[in-house]
Symmetry: C2
Subunit: 492 residues, 2 copies
């Protein structure tokens, strides 16, 4: 990867001084065009060897461009909040919105490479990180992001020369620390790991751009020019589309579906309901206060058609809990801020930390439900979402999150009855809107979308539970019972 970056590239002062002002002006121009168009974010990774001047380059970009539209993330050791969540959480948090430039000085590559270099993880574990990273970068690209990965390189010889020169001069010798010499010794090992990682992540969507950094003028000018060209080119081309594969399977020929096969006559009397409600609420409360839960977190996803009883079921759960230990996230149409980000961003931001419980009243599954049915995104977009969602959940589970997913199923007749009942009761009228009737018209399409969703995202690590919800009492007890069982299993 580094052959052309060890040739001793350099640029003389005269040329540098002449070209920099022109470049700065052009960079500002594309930056404003980017902000005005606001069609895509630029995600700039600045990586490379020690002493190559990563920090200087980041400072330079900040100086050359308008800092209002650029945001630098110098991510060092993770904070408490960050280590309490999956590795990628801190990067999701820091993603720039459309129209802005996010500079990552220390990126999702840093930690896995360091871990491997220090022998803390095996080659196979590194390869798994690489796999997660390429999936992540691919998704960001499909969502419209422009990912620019710069690698600032120095040969070992130049690195050594630089340190020796500083050490020999009494005025600068203080700048050379023991750590610097230690890092020099690790150069070969570092380069070996870096070569492997760069080669494996040198994808079509986000290839690496290696820049020799022995001469600061060459480095700065090459970096600036490249950034300019990459953004300019992307401004001039339409957004990349998701890859189009084969279509989904249409509804089954015999009209039989998972949902239509449920037994909607299941019900529970008032008395056993109250007994069991008390029982499972107590159990849930104890489980959430279990010592082992402090190193785990819990996500409960509630999905279901309008009036299926999500809200009232969630209340039966929250009643059992201490308000400090849970959060309910009601998911409606995305805000402007959320629309300027990849669709999973607004869910990543609410991922619970250790010891926390987050209840999603509707969730990321909207991508493959309402967004699919109402054609708010292309077929290719929601077709790729199944794997992206599975990957998202797998990352959470790898970080000891328990995920419990419920689909509250009601029949079409039951829904109509509930709609009419709501219209009749004054304080419930706000709960029924034109959207509800519109969604009801698309009953078949929702039914099909739900079955596809269950088929493609009910995994052994995060299975769906279908809840027969025509009878609210039956539904609530099944929910609570399942929730308790899943937590118990996970704590065992």
């Amino acid at each position: 990867m580094f052959e052309s970056a060890e040739l001793g590239h350099c640029i003389d002062k005269k040329r540098y001084d002449a070209e920099v002002p022109v470049l700065r002006e052009a960079l500002l121009d594309v930056q404003y065009a980017l902000a005005e168009q606001a069609h895509f974010p630029v995600i700039l990774l600045v990586g490379g060897v020690d002493g190559a001047g990563k920090g200087e380059v980041v400072n330079l970009l900040n100086a050359w461009m308008d800092p209002r539209h650029i945001r630098v993330h110098a991510l060092a050791e993770p904070t408490d909040e960050e280590s309490s969540r999956p590795m990628m959480w801190r990067f999701w948090r820091a993603l720039p919105p459309k129209g802005k430039i996010g500079v990552f000085f220390g990126s999702w590559y840093t930690h896995p490479m360091m871990q491997r270099m220090q022998g803390n993880i095996k080659g196979a574990e590194l390869d798994q990180c690489i796999d997660e990273i390429t999936s992540f970068e691919r998704m960001i690209t499909y969502e419209g992001g422009l990912i620019i990965k710069l690698w600032l390189h120095l040969s070992k010889k130049v690195q050594k020369k630089r340190l020796t020169k500083l050490a020999e001069n009494p005025d600068t010798s203080w700048r050379v620390t023991d750590t610097d010499w230690q890092h020099l010794k690790l150069h070969d090992e570092f380069i070996k790991v870096a070569e492997h990682v760069l080669r494996e992540t040198n994808t079509a969507e986000a290839p690496w751009i290696v820049i020799e950094s022995s001469d600061f003028r060459f480095r700065n000018l090459t970096t600036g020019n490249y950034l300019l060209e990459a953004i300019r080119k992307r401004l001039a081309t339409p957004s990349p589309l998701s890859p189009v594969g084969v279509p989904p399977l249409p509804p089954a020929l015999d009209d039989k579906t998972l949902l239509s096969s449920l037994d909607f006559s299941l019900s529970l009397g008032k008395k056993p309901y109250q007994q069991q409600l008390a029982k499972y609420q107590g159990e849930l409360n104890l489980l959430m206060r279990h010592a082992k839960f402090r190193n785990k977190s819990l996500i409960a996803v509630f999905e279901g058609l309008d009036s299926a009883g999500k809200g009232s079921a969630i209340r039966r759960i929250s009643q059992a809990l201490d308000a400090r230990h849970y959060r309910i996230i009601p998911v409606a149409a995305p805000s402007d801020e959320e629309l300027a980000q990849p669709y999973l961003w607004r869910f990543w931001r609410h991922v619970p930390g250790n010891g926390e419980f987050t209840i999603f009243d509707r969730s990321w599954y909207g991508r493959v439900l309402v967004e699919r049915v109402d054609e708010l995104c292309h077929e290719a977009d929601w077709m790729r979402a199944y794997k992206e969602i599975n990957d998202f959940e797998a990352q959470l589970i790898a970080h000891d999150t328990i995920i419990v997913k419920f689909w509250l199923a009601i029949t079409r007749e039951e829904q109509l009855k509930r709609f009419h009942a709501r219209e009749e009761v004054g304080y419930k009228q706000f709960k029924i809107t034109g959207d509800d009737w519109h969604n009801r018209d698309n009953w078949q399409q929702f039914d099909h979308a739900v079955c596809d969703m269950v088929d493609r995202t009910s995994t052994d690590i995060a299975p769906w539970t279908l809840v027969e919800a025509n009878d609210k009492r039956f539904a609530r007890i099944k929910l609570l019972k399942t929730l308790c069982e899943r937590i118990e299993q996970a704590l065992d």
Copy 2:
């Protein structure tokens, strides 16, 4: 993955008999449209559980469609020729050309899943196979292929019922073997592995389509209808494009390049040349007859601009060898047959088996050299090729192939001298054509393409050797010496 495929879907005889003739006619229509348009191949995988009728479905498709445009590959145990090469070789060999349908009954999924089920490989090894498979399927999709992956499913209950029914009837009991009962016992384990693999390979480019197979009519009609729709849809849409990432780095600002930094004054006198030629030819001959080489294979890639001396250097190597042990593959413009396939296909077909040595006079690197410079493919196509090529070589190396890659470098002046010399000698005039002069005009672009190629594909497992070739004697000795060293290392 299988929830909707355990509902007991079925279709009655009357409907089946009415719909099949219509479907068959429509299938023939799309098949002819596919053959006539000849823009893309259809790669149909038929997988699933035992007893679901994979074989019946394949037979049916053969019966329903025109067998001239369909080719079934029932790949069972690999042949000697196949096991002597990387796992994917047999599938590359079998890929259908544009306009045809290739049915894979037993696919690249079969072997890894079986191995995992039998406990012969670990989870991490399975995941590595999955990684190779998704890369492969992605490449095929970018190259225009339509991949349809069908999974025929039966619940354990239905599988058992089917066997019991056959066993109870004296007329059919002979059909139920011990193996069948054994497989039934393995159902749960099989499904567990299958769920994992299907979920991980349920990509945007090639998602799985699961079809319940307890009722043969439902299974057949669903399969036929799906195939029809998938091909129809693709016939009506333009070919998918490669994902567009950032542009490559332009030539270095100071015009210094890897090639221009070589020492072209290196030369060798006639006498030491003859001595060393004899020495290394002898060494090479011994190495190729070494007992350990029988389990290895060797690929030498020769690249270089016109008149760089590839042909004469190759002759110095072949002189040392027994004609039974090596093959020279001269690579020119692709044939019609090759053009109907992904670009790597014509190289996969020449991959050497154990104990064999293949010399490529030009190679797959044409994708990132002449095809890039002459704009024979899009930038996005050759940008993704670097990783595809690295993956290709990694597969070969994992199968104990030694890969040695040479770039024969000459200066622009030296080339001109050689061109003129060729024009003057009658029997060498055929060696100089308009193409040669055309390529010479693109000297700078080639120089840049070569440097990018070395930077992005010179890996620790398959490094490039740049050979200063202005002096032919020096070049030939460096080649032979490097070749011997690399083989020695690998045999150690």
